[in-house]
C-alpha cells in the first residue's frame, strides 16, 4: 500500500484528432477517457473477450453434457446416427475453419506490421471460408438429410432407423451444429464490420484491439468445431 501501483502503465496523453488530421486513422484513434493509457484499454478489452469466451465454452458445455448423457443411454442410436454423417464433408469443413483461423491470426500480424493490403486480403479470405463453411453445411449436410427424413424429435421420419431412439441423436446433431452455425454467422458478421473498418484505416501497429478480440472469438468458433467434429462424425 505504500508504493503507488499504476499497473505499469504511466498516464499518457490522448491524441488530439485536430492536431493529427494528416495521420492515418489508427494513429488518431483515442482511448476512452477512464483509462490511463492505450495499453490499459487494450488489456481490458482482451480480458473482457477471454471472459466472454469462457461463457461461450460453458454454453456449449451444456450441449456436450447432453451428448454424453444420451450417448450413455442410447449407444446404439448414436452409433447408427453417426454412420449417416459424411466424414468427408465434415473433414473438409474442419480444414476450411482451420485455414480461416490461420488467416485471421495472420491479419492481426498484418495490423501489427502495418501491412494494410495483406490485412484486407487475409480478412477477406477468412470471410470467404466462413461462407464456404455455411454453404457446405446447408447444401451438402442439412438439406439431403432433412429430405431423407433424418430430422430432430417429432419430425423424424427416416424409415430405416435401426434404433427407436435415433431421433434423439438427430435432435442433438441439429441443436449442436445449428448453434455452432449461428456462432459462425455472428463471427462472420463481426469480421465483416472489421473488414469495412480496415478499409477506412482503423487498424495499425499497437492499434488493433478490434481485430484481436474478433480474432479471439473466431478461434473459439473454430475450437468448438474441433470438438464437435470427432464427437459427431468420428466416434462410432
Amino acid at each position: 500500500m505504500t508504493s503507488i501501483d499504476t499497473g505499469g502503465n504511466p498516464p499518457q496523453n490522448n491524441p488530439q484528432p485536430q492536431a493529427l488530421s494528416t495521420e492515418p486513422r489508427w494513429k488518431r484513434q483515442p482511448f476512452a477517457n477512464h483509462w490511463r493509457s492505450h495499453a490499459e484499454d487494450f488489456d481490458a478489452c482482451k480480458i473482457g473477450m477471454w471472459l466472454f469466451l469462457t461463457t461461450e465454452v460453458l454454453l456449449f458445455a451444456g450441449i456436450f453434457v447432453a451428448y454424453a448423457v444420451f450417448r450413455m443411454w442410447y449407444p446404439e442410436a448414436f452409433a447408427n446416427g453417426s454412420h449417416h454423417l459424411d466424414v468427408h464433408w465434415g473433414a473438409l469443413n474442419t480444414v476450411i475453419l482451420l485455414i480461416s483461423s490461420f488467416t485471421v491470426a495472420a491479419s492481426i500480424r498484418n495490423a501489427q506490421l502495418n501491412q494494410q493490403g495483406l490485412l484486407k486480403i487475409n480478412l477477406s479470405i477468412t470471410l470467404f471460408c466462413a461462407l464456404l463453411f455455411m454453404i457446405i453445411k446447408f447444401t451438402f449436410e442439412y438439406a439431403p438429410k432433412w429430405a431423407e427424413g433424418k430430422r430432430p424429435g417429432v419430425w423424424f421420419s427416416y424409415p430405416f432407423a435401426a434404433d427407436p431412439n435415433e431421433h434423439i441423436w438427430w435432435s442433438l446433431y441439429y441443436s449442436a451444429t445449428g448453434i455452432h452455425a449461428l456462432h459462425v454467422l455472428i463471427g462472420a458478421a463481426v469480421l465483416f464490420v472489421i473488414l469495412l473498418k480496415s478499409f477506412k484505416g482503423w487498424y495499425g501497429p499497437k492499434h488493433y484491439t478490434g481485430i484481436e478480440v474478433a480474432g479471439l472469438y473466431w478461434h473459439l468458433v473454430d475450437v468448438i468445431w474441433i470438438f464437435l467434429f470427432p464427437l459427431l462424425y468420428l466416434i462410432h
Binding site: 500500500m1 501501483d5 498516464p11 477517457n33 461463457t55 451444456g62 444420451f70 442410447y74 431412439n165
Partner: protein, 602 residues
C-alpha cells in the same frame, strides 16, 4: 461525454456539475439519460426499473396471499354432479369463480388457474427481474467505480447495452403476463413448461425473457471483473478494496460462469417446446431430470448471485454505522470467494428426491460446506458490532434485521440439507419460508438498507429518518409474521404451491396474509420517504455517515467524472481507529479513544 478528454480531468473539472445536472430542456435531458454511458446514470435507471418490477412482483405476492385467506375456495372436485372440497367432502354452494366468465377447464377451476399464474408470475419477476440484478446492477453499477476511485466501469457502452437488454427482456415477460400469464412456476420444469398453454406463445415469451435477461447479467458481471482488475485507484491493492467490491467481484464470477448454462438450457427448452425435439420428453426417450440438472447448475450458483451482494452491503453498513474497524477483513474476503466456489458444487440438493441415493448423500455433504464461510461472516459482523458506537438509523436497523433474519434463513437450510429431515420438509412451506428468509430477509432487506445508506450520496438529498425507521420496523414485523408462520405450516405438512389446504391451517395462513399486508404498507412508506426526499429533502453533505471508502470523498451527488482528482489510496476502507473520515467534523465523528494498556477491542 467527450472521448478526447485528457486523463486527469483535474485542471478544468472544478466547475463540473453533478451527474444529475440537466442538459438543456426536458427532451434533451431524456435523450441524454437514454444514451448515457455514465455508470451512475445507468445505475439509477436500473434502480428505478428494478423498483418497478419489485412492485409488480409484490402485487402478485399479495394476490397469492389473499387467495390463501380461505382454505377451500378453489380446489374442488365434482362428485355426483355436486362440487365438494377435496379435503372435507363438504358440499360447496354458490361457488363463484374468482373471475366471472372464465370457464373451468378439465376440472380445474378458473380460480386455481389464476392462482398458479400469480405465483409463477411472482417467482419469475422476483428472481429474474428483481433479485438477480438488484444489488449488482443498481448499487453495484453506481458504487463499484466510485469505491475503486475510477471514472467509470471498464466498458461503459456495454454497460448501457446491458440495461437495454434488461428492459427488453422484462418487456417480453410483462407481455406474457398481459397475454394471460403462465403457470409453469419460476423453474420452468418440464413437462409444465412444454405442455401447458399449448395454443399460446406466452410460455415461450417468458422463457425467452429469462434467456435475454441472462445476457444482461453476463455483461454486467464481465464488466465488473475487468473493472476490478484494471481500474483500481493508485495505491489500492486487492486487500485495500472495500468488501462491497469483493462481493461484486465474487458475484460477477458466478454470473459469468453459471449464466451461460441457463442460456443453453432455456434454448434447448424452447427447441423442446416449439419443435418437440424430445430431449426432455420421456415419451420420446428424453430425460426431464436432465433439464433439472441443467436448470439447477445455474440456479443454485445464482442463489449466491442474489445473496453475496447483500453480504457486501452489510460489510459497508455495519463498520460505518458502528464506527468500528471491520473484524476479520481477509476472512471476509476469502469467505466470499469460498461461497462462490462451493456454490457450483451443490446444485443437486434441489433434486434430492429426483436423484440417486449416493448422489444425494454427496450433495448433502457438500451443502453443509456452505455453512462454514457463511457462519464466518455472521460471526465477523457480530464481532464488528461488539463495543462499536452503534447509530440506530435506518441502514443500521436494516443491517441488524439482516443479521437476525439471514441467520434464521441460514440455519433452517441445515434441516433441508439433511436427507432424513428433508424427506419430510421438501416441497413444503418450510422450504418456502427458508428461501424467503434468505432471499427477502437477506437480499431485499440488505438492498433496502443499502439504498438508504447510499441515498444521500446518489441523489444529494437526505431522507426523513423517522418515517424510514417506521417503514423499517413495519417491514421487519410484517416479514416475520408472513414467513415465520410458514415454517410452522411447513413442519405440519402444508405443501407449497397449493391453492387449498385443510381447515386447521387457516389461522396460520391468515396470520401470514396479515403479515403480507403489513409488509406492503412498510414498503409503501419507504416509497413515500424516497419521493419526499427527492422532492423536498434537505441537501446532503459529502459524508453524512462518516464513511472512509472512496465514494465519500467526492461530492453528493458525485460530479460527472466522479472525482476532481484521481484519488490516491492511503488508508484502508475500515480504518476508523486511525483515520478521521473525509469531509467530517471531529466533534461529530470523533476518533475512538486510545486503548488503555491491556485493553482489547475484540
Amino acid at each position: 461525454m467527450s472521448t478526447i478528454d485528457t486523463h486527469n480531468a483535474g485542471q478544468h473539472a472544478h466547475h463540473e456539475g453533478s451527474y444529475l445536472t440537466p442538459h438543456g430542456g426536458a427532451l434533451a435531458t431524456i435523450w441524454n439519460w437514454a444514451t448515457t454511458i455514465d455508470h451512475k446514470k445507468i445505475g439509477v435507471m436500473y434502480l428505478f426499473a428494478i423498483m418497478f418490477m419489485f412492485f409488480l412482483g409484490g402485487v402478485a405476492a399479495l394476490g397469492v396471499r389473499a387467495e390463501l385467506w380461505e382454505p377451500t375456495r378453489v380446489v374442488t372436485q365434482v362428485v355426483e354432479g355436486e362440487t365438494v372440497t377435496s379435503y372435507t367432502g363438504q358440499v360447496l354452494v354458490n361457488l363463484a369463480p374468482i373471475v366471472p366468465g372464465v370457464e373451468s377447464e378439465g376440472g380445474i377451476s378458473a380460480g386455481m388457474n389464476i392462482y398458479n399464474r400469480a405465483f409463477s408470475l411472482h417467482g419469475i419477476i422476483m428472481t429474474f427481474m428483481v433479485i438477480v440484478p438488484s444489488v449488482p446492477a443498481s448499487l453495484g453499477n453506481f458504487f463499484l467505480p466510485l469505491m475503486l476511485g475510477a471514472k467509470d466501469v471498464a466498458f461503459p457502452r456495454l454497460n448501457l447495452m446491458s440495461w437495454y437488454i434488461y428492459v427488453f427482456g422484462s418487456i417480453f415477460a410483462v407481455a406474457a403476463v398481459v397475454m394471460g400469464g403462465v403457470d409453469t412456476g419460476w423453474t420452468f420444469y418440464t413437462p409444465y413448461s412444454t405442455m401447458t398453454d399449448a395454443d399460446h406463445l406466452r410460455v415461450v415469451f417468458v422463457i425467452l425473457a429469462a434467456f435475454i435477461l441472462g445476457f444482461s447479467s453476463i455483461l454486467t458481471g464481465l464488466n465488473f471483473i475487468v473493472t476490478v482488475h484494471k481500474l483500481r485507484a493508485p495505491g489500492m491493492g486487492w486487500f485495500d478494496m472495500p468488501l462491497f467490491v469483493w462481493a461484486m467481484y465474487a458475484t460477477a464470477i458466478i454470473q459469468v460462469l453459471a449464466t451461460p448454462v441457463i442460456g443453453i438450457t432455456l434454448l434447448l427448452l424452447i427447441f423442446e417446446r416449439v419443435f418437440h425435439v424430445g430431449i426432455f420428453d420421456p415419451r420420446m426417450g428424453g430425460d426431464p431430470v436432465l433439464y433439472q440438472h441443467f436448470f439447477w447448475f445455474y440456479s443454485h450458483p445464482v442463489v449466491y448471485v442474489m445473496i453475496i451482494p447483500a453480504f457486501g452491503i452489510i460489510n459497508e453498513i455495519i463498520p460505518v454505522h458502528a464506527r468500528k474497524k471491520l473484524f476479520g477483513y481477509r476472512a471476509m474476503a476469502f469467505a466470499t470467494l469460498g461461497i462462490a466456489a462451493v456454490s457450483f458444487l451443490v446444485w443437486g440438493h434441489h433434486m434430492f428426491t429426483a436423484s440417486g441415493e449416493l448422489a444425494a448423500m454427496i450433495f448433502s455433504a457438500l451443502t453443509f460446506l456452505v455453512a462454514i464461510p457463511t457462519a464466518i461472516k455472521v460471526f465477523n459482523w457480530v464481532a464488528t458490532l461488539y463495543k462499536g458506537s452503534i447509530a440506530f438509523n435506518t441502514p443500521m436497523l436494516y443491517a441488524l434485521s439482516f443479521l437476525f433474519m439471514f441467520t434464521i434463513g441460514g440455519l433452517t437450510g441445515l434441516p433441508l440439507a439433511t436427507l432424513a429431515t428433508d424427506l419430510h420438509l421438501h416441497d413444503s412451506y418450510f422450504v418456502v419460508a427458508h428461501f424467503h428468509y434468505v432471499m427477502m430477509g437477506g437480499t431485499i432487506i440488505a438492498f433496502v438498507g443499502g439504498i438508504h445508506h447510499w441515498w444521500p450520496k446518489m441523489f444529494g438529498k437526505l431522507y426523513n429518518e423517522r418515517w424510514a425507521i417506521i417503514g423499517c420496523v413495519l417491514v421487519f414485523i410484517g416479514f416475520n409474521l408472513t414467513f415465520f408462520t410458514q415454517f410452522i405450516l411447513g413442519t405440519r405438512g402444508m405443501p407449497r404451491r397449493y391453492a387449498s389446504y385443510p381447515d386447521e391451517f387457516q389461522f396460520l395462513h391468515q396470520l401470514s396474509t396479515i403479515g403480507s399486508w403489513i409488509l406492503g404498507i412498510g414498503f409503501l412508506i419507504h416509497l413515500g420517504v424516497f419521493v419526499h426526499s427527492l422532492v423536498a429533502g434537505r441537501k446532503a453533505p459529502e459524508n453524512p455517515w462518516g464513511g472512509l471508502s472512496l465514494e465519500w470523498e467526492t461530492e453528493s451527488p458525485p460530479i460527472e467524472h466522479n472525482f476532481h482528482h484521481e484519488p490516491i489510496v492511503k488508508h484502508g476502507p475500515y480504518d476508523f481507529d486511525t483515520v478521521q473520515p473525509p469531509h467530517t467534523d471531529p466533534a461529530e465523528f470523533p476518533m475512538p479513544e486510545p486503548l488503555r494498556p491491556g485493553e482489547r477491542t475484540h
